[in-house]
């Protein structure tokens, strides 16, 4: 006979109790392993989506502008495409799909449309209700090298509409941006798109498959970067397609020229509406700023026309496009310094479409208003003879002061002598990335993003935490029952010479065997639990993930972790139960005696735990401690305190007179205090969870809309100010009484809200207008430093040059994983979170000041995001009017409450998940309660039989049993509810004190009903057995 033999006998003999213990461990292991599998499922599914949608594309070479299609030939396995945002409209039904990715492709990409065909991904086709042969209109932003927000940028009709026919093939799901939702993409023939956009032979994207990170420096030309070098008689003229030279290019060109021993002369040429002097005026004249000479120099022609002589005051009138979306007319005055001969030199002025190629001033088609009545025959004569030869010259610095823009402060740089080696030298010196030609490791970046902003494994571990606790409590409960059942056996073993440590070892070995077996069973359970959770995420809880494309991807690591954790926690629970073995003497064990535990220890532990809990709560209320930490910490301590205090109360030898059935029931509950406390703990934990989760549910009464009823986004940028009559006129918007637009600049990027499962690598950025910062709308959770109006922090310079940014508190914490005051880097720019909005509609983006936005992203033009201040009764009418008037811009309006509801839906879905799993924990707790009740009653069959023998009716016995059970249930409910209410107090207070009393009461009533049901079931089962027969048996 060996100890192993005894173990095997024990495990087999007490199989009922052991099975319950095994199932408890299996449940805990299954839940933990399953929760981890959910995390694996989400990560792996996101990764699968990335790989499927990118295909064999590893890198992307892209520019905010177009370059030679032939550049692709310089890289192995490269495919040139055009990739732009746009919208698609079903011509017949009028249904619109906005924010669609439009790809211009040819057979090098794969199966491609031909002729006038368009192919749509399945989701987009379904959205439009389009069938093969249907006519579709694709509208995209017309590429413009010249910035829209400059004088010469064409602001009207910024889009291009192309009519195409839907083909029969369904293209592959291709997307360069990681997204969990359906791919909404349209594929059009590359050459057709190039032609329609006026970019024949040019693309803006190259897809590269495999190999190392491509280096375009050897292949890219100056033309690809939008740079032109004109050879003039005695110099070179460096210019750009945009007509403006960015500061970085100007600096690099100057350094390169100087390194070759060349001299440079920077030039800024502008169009003045008029040159005035001595009561005379010359309309629409080119003026060039160069050199350092003060005052103004007129050519002979102009001086004669104005009858001006040196010393006279000359006034220049000119248009300036300002960031408020309007064309302003400004003036500047200069003393006439000199008069120079009129020499024909058109090379100072860049090529202005609509102007430079015109034969006469009357043929001009400029992107700004001109009054042709002002044009005189003499002006036409000058144009005929001299075209864009400047009529006046001012100092460069003065010109830059008047006409410099964020896009550049020069229109050309003259380099002399005209050395042929300058162009290649400049090309070698330029970093294509600085000129906007970026090489992006799109696959690596997307795969990194697929790790997810939200660790669903971690979340489901939290969600399932109380379910695991319930399972472990049940494990401990049944193991404890098993020990109690074998107390006499333990006494015999003690009498036979087994030391207490030996007995503990035997039980621990039994527990280990049960834990291991339970954990193994839990492996299968983990797969099942994980699958059910994943199905849940695809169906009932789809609000949390926004996609049905999640599937289980079991991993050995997660299963092993679940199993090991199940073994560890099961064994720990069993070991904890075994601590109580010693205090009863062997004689007492043989007699079935129960040791009365000290009252002092649980009382002390309870008081200390309560004090610590209140300290944490105080710290949370004083905002010294994070609320989530306070909730979990204080909640756990409060539960421990309550249970310890109740344990002390139950352990106290009660000599109170038993005056009736109820007091008899109370005495019974106190007879086995350990069991009673375990029951109370199970009910309390589940109740705590359900009550506290419900309190965090968003009810939609948030102030996060800032008082604005509507918000809008447009596919194409609005350049004009829709609040001004001129802007509304330019945008073709009818007068809208009482409607105010707040336009925001938008740099598209990754959604930083809980709606995006992928880790945002390149956040979406909004910039409100300066006036908005002063209006103090929206509530803030906190700011660094504390200030009455945190919006103003956006304009305050920070030490070290970090750019201040504001984001929603939810995004900061749960998606970006940052803290207030923390820095992060984006495209080599350091940003700092200076304030956190509270549950706002800005959860998808970061906000920076418009000034910083224009400095950091000069190429992003116009406004694409709007808040609309609209009277309540007119929201529907305004929505319809604006969406129709601005349909060419893809203007899409949404109510701000609907936007917030979208975010709340995710949060509430998480809470629903938490609550569902908590409810499962409650079910387990109820099972435990029912098991205990039944066990208690069965153990006391002789006692109950005796009561019957002395005249108690069955209804009396039922009342005693029910009263005992109700005590445990009500104590559990009260404990869980009370602790939850205290624990959530700081969080509820910071959210404005909302508390869903009605739904909570309903919930607790349901819990109570469940418990009563379990009690009645146990009572019925007990009373059904022949009690009187028990009197006769041993």
């Amino acid at each position: 006979m060996r100890i192993s033999t005894l173990l095997a006998r024990n495990l087999a003999w007490y199989w009922r109790t052991n099975l319950a213990v095994l199932l408890g461990v299996a449940t805990a292991a299954a839940v933990l392993g399953g929760a981890l599998l959910v995390g694996d499922a989400v990560r792996a599914s996101l990764r699968d989506l990335v790989l499927a949608r990118l295909g064999n594309t590893d890198y992307v070479i892209a520019r905010n502008g177009f370059f030679r299609e032939d550049l692709a030939a310089s890289f192995p396995s490269a495919t040139p495409i055009v990739s732009i945002d746009g919208m698609v409209v079903h011509q017949t039904s009028g249904r619109r799909a906005l924010s669609v990715q439009i790809y211009g492709v040819d057979p090098r990409f794969g199966p491609a449309p031909e002729g006038q065909q368009i192919l749509l991904t399945a989701a987009l086709a379904a959205e439009l209700g389009a069938k093969p042969g249907d006519a579709l209109l694709v509208r995209v932003e017309k590429p413009s090298a010249i910035p829209l927000e400059s004088l010469h940028g064409r602001k009207e009709d910024v889009g291009k509409t192309i009519r195409l026919t839907l083909g029969t093939a369904t293209p592959r799901e291709f997307s360069l941006n990681p997204q969990q939702g359906d791919v909404r993409a349209a594929f059009v023939p590359l050459t057709l798109l190039e032609k329609q956009l006026g970019e024949i032979g040019k693309v803006n994207t190259i897809l590269v498959a495999g190999g190392p990170l491509p280096d375009p420096r050897g292949a890219v030309t100056l033309e690809d970067l939008g740079i032109k070098i004109r050879t003039l008689p005695s110099s070179l003229s460096l210019e750009t397609d945009s007509t403006l030279i960015p500061d970085a290019l100007a600096e690099r060109a100057t350094v390169t020229a100087n390194s070759l021993g060349l001299t440079t002369e920077p030039v800024l040429t502008y169009l003045a509406n008029g040159i005035r002097a001595n009561g005379r005026e010359i309309p629409y004249s080119v003026v060039t700023a160069l050199g350092t000479e003060d005052g103004i120099t007129l050519n002979q022609w102009a001086a004669h026309d104005l009858n001006a002589k040196p010393g006279d005051t000359v006034t220049l009138d000119y248009y300036v496009w300002k960031s408020d979306g309007r064309l302003h007319t400004d003036s500047a005055q200069f003393p006439l310094a000199r008069i120079v001969p009129t020499a024909s030199d058109q090379t100072y002025a860049p090529e202005y479409p609509g102007i430079s190629e015109s034969n006469s001033l009357h043929d001009w088609d400029p992107p700004f208003p001109i009054d042709l009545h002002r044009v005189r025959p003499a002006d036409e004569q000058y144009w005929k003879q001299y075209r864009t030869t400047p009529k006046a010259f001012i100092a460069l610095a003065r010109g830059q002061q008047l006409w410099g823009t964020r896009f550049g402060k020069l229109t050309s740089i003259r380099i002399s002598p005209p050395l042929p080696s300058f162009a290649p030298a400049l090309r070698a010196a330029l970093d294509p990335a600085q000129m906007g030609l970026a090489v992006i490791p799109v696959k690596a970046r997307s795969l990194a993003a697929s790790q997810g902003a939200t660790d669903f494994g971690e979340y489901f571990v939290y969600f399932s935490f109380f379910l695991m606790v319930s399972a472990l409590l049940l494990t401990g409960l049944f193991f404890k029952l098993g020990i109690e059942q074998r107390m006499r056996e333990i006494g015999v073993l003690r009498a036979l010479g087994f030391s207490i440590s030996k007995i503990r070892t035997v039980f621990l070995l039994e527990g280990a065997a049960l834990s291991i077996a339970g954990a193994m069973l839990g492996l299968a359970g983990a797969l099942a639990y994980g699958e059910v959770m994943v199905i849940g995420l695809r169906t009932w809880w789809i609000g949390a993930v926004g996609t049905r494309l999640i599937s289980l991807h079991p991993s050995i690591a997660s299963l092993a972790t679940g199993a090991l954790a199940g073994i560890a926690t099961g064994l720990a629970t069993i070991a904890w139960t075994l601590r109580k073995l010693e205090p009863v003497t062997p004689r007492g064990l043989l007699a079935g005696e129960q040791k009365r535990h000290s009252v002092k220890r649980p009382l002390l532990v309870g008081i200390v735990a309560a004090l610590l809990a209140f300290i944490l709560l105080g710290a949370a209320l004083a905002r010294v401690l994070d609320q989530a930490a306070a909730f979990f910490g204080a909640g756990t301590l409060l539960l421990i305190a309550a249970l310890c205090l109740q344990s002390a109360a139950l352990n106290r030898r009660s000599s109170a007179f038993i005056g009736g059935l109820i007091s008899l029931a109370l005495r019974n509950a106190a007879y086995r205090p350990g069991r009673s406390i375990l029951c109370i703990a199970q009910i309390a934990c589940a109740t705590f969870l359900i009550v506290s989760v419900d309190a965090f549910r968003q009810t939609g009464d948030s102030a996060g809309t800032g008082g604005y009823r509507l918000m809008a986004e447009s596919n194409l940028p609005l350049i004009h100010d829709p609040n001004s009559p001129a802007g509304r006129d330019a945008l073709n918007i009818p007068p809208l009484e009482g409607v105010q637009f707040v336009p925001f600049r938008l740099r598209p990027g990754d959604d930083v809200s809980c709606l995006n499962l992928y880790q945002p690598r390149n956040p979406r950025i909004l910039a409100p207008p300066a006036a908005f910062l002063n209006s103090a709308h929206f509530a803030f959770q906190d700011s660094v430093p504390h200030t009455a109006n945190p919006w103003l922090s956006l304009d305050a310079p920070l030490p070290g040059g970090a750019v201040p940014a504001i984001a929603d508190a939810n995004s900061i914490t749960y998606v970006l994983h940052l803290k207030l005051g923390e820095d992060f880097t984006l495209n080599q720019t350091r940003f700092r979170i200076v304030a956190a909005l509270q549950d706002s509609l800005f959860q998808s983006e970061l906000l920076i000041s418009e000034k910083n936005f224009l400095r950091l992203f000069p190429d992003v033009e116009g406004y694409r995001f709007f808040l609309l201040d609209v009277p309540l009764q007119r929201t529907q009418q305004v929505t319809g009017t604006l969406e129709e008037a601005l349909s060419d811009y893809g203007f899409d309006i949404q109510s701000t409450e609907a936007r917030l509801a979208g975010f709340h839906k995710v949060e509430n879905t998480y809470l629903s998940t938490f609550r569902s799993l908590g409810a499962l924990g409650l079910v387990l707790g109820t099972v435990g309660l029912a098991a205990i009740l039944l066990r208690n009653v069965l153990e006391r069959r002789r006692e109950l039989a005796l009561l019957r023998a002395v005249g108690y009716r069955p209804s009396h016995l039922a009342a005693i049993v029910l009263a005992e059970n109700m005590l445990l249930l009500l104590l559990g409910l009260a404990t869980g509810t009370g602790c939850a209410l205290l624990a959530i107090a700081p969080a509820v207070s910071s959210r404005g004190g909302q508390f869903p009393v009605a739904s909570l009461s309903l919930l607790l009533a349901a819990v109570l009903a469940t418990g009563i049901g379990a009690s009645q079931a146990a009572t019925r089962a007990a009373l059904r057995s022949p009690l009187l027969a028990a009197l006769r048996s041993e």
Binding site: M1, A495, F498, S499, S501, R587
Partner: protein, 223 residues
């Protein structure tokens, strides 16, 4: 030699300490067999459990072959019980999940030296007439048979002191006679110190030494 000197045992109650034993003293040598009688609640079982090291006396000392069990550590006390004391309970206290042979061997699982344990168990079970029931479970045995297994278990480690608490209390007359005979026979063979607590005058009459526990004191009732 078993030396019991001034053993007292009191239990605290809300109404003050309750004296179960007071000044109990006696000596027994190897080979002695004593029966202790007394009315129900007199403290017979309490005295037995104190002698067996299962319960601590309030005062007094016990010495078995010069060793005071209550001066030992818990671990040494367990080993002392395992090697020096055999216990038989009124309701046998067999492990229901183990066979007859396994029940007899249970004490050897924690012995330092198990050599020959299996042979000893078979031999003892043969002596108590259960050699053909070795694989049977307790549920398949009669009351008397169970008590015979308990007897074999108690003697497996050749203890010096054999303590029996109402060994025939739950048995019919025939079974009781068999058990009592076996008890005395095996006691003689192994030369243990045998102490039996009983309220059966018939059983007590078979013992050379008889004591009566009355008013917390042990009185000789004849030899």
């Amino acid at each position: 030699m078993l030396d019991v000197s001034q053993i007292a045992k009191t239990y605290p109650t809300p109404r003050g300490p309750l004296a179960i034993l007071s000044g109990v003293s006696f000596n027994l040598r190897r080979g002695d067999a004593a029966a202790i009688m007394g009315p129900s609640g007199a403290g017979k079982s309490t005295l037995l459990y104190i002698l067996g090291g299962l319960e601590q006396p309030t005062s007094g000392t016990i010495s078995l072959d010069g060793r005071n069990p209550f001066a030992l550590s818990d671990k040494d006390l367990a080993a002392f019980r395992n090697q020096s004391i055999g216990f038989i309970f009124q309701d046998h206290c067999l492990l229901p999940q183990c066979s007859v042979l396994e029940n007899a061997l249970v004490p050897t699982l924690v012995s330092n030296d198990n050599t020959g344990a299996l042979d000893r168990a078979r031999d003892l079970l043969a002596q108590v007439g259960l050699s053909d029931r070795l694989d049977h479970r307790p549920a398949e045995l009669s009351g008397g048979e169970k008590q015979r297994v308990a007897l074999a278990r108690a003697l497996i480690n050749k203890p010096l002191l054999l303590l029996c608490d109402e060994p025939t209390g739950n048995l019919d007359q025939a079974s009781a006679d068999v058990v009592a005979s076996l008890l005395l026979e095996l006691h003689q063979r192994q030369e243990t110190i045998l102490i039996v607590v009983t309220h059966s005058a018939e059983l007590a009459a078979r013992f050379p030494l008889r004591y009566e526990l009355r008013n917390a004191n042990l009185h000789s009732a004849g030899a």
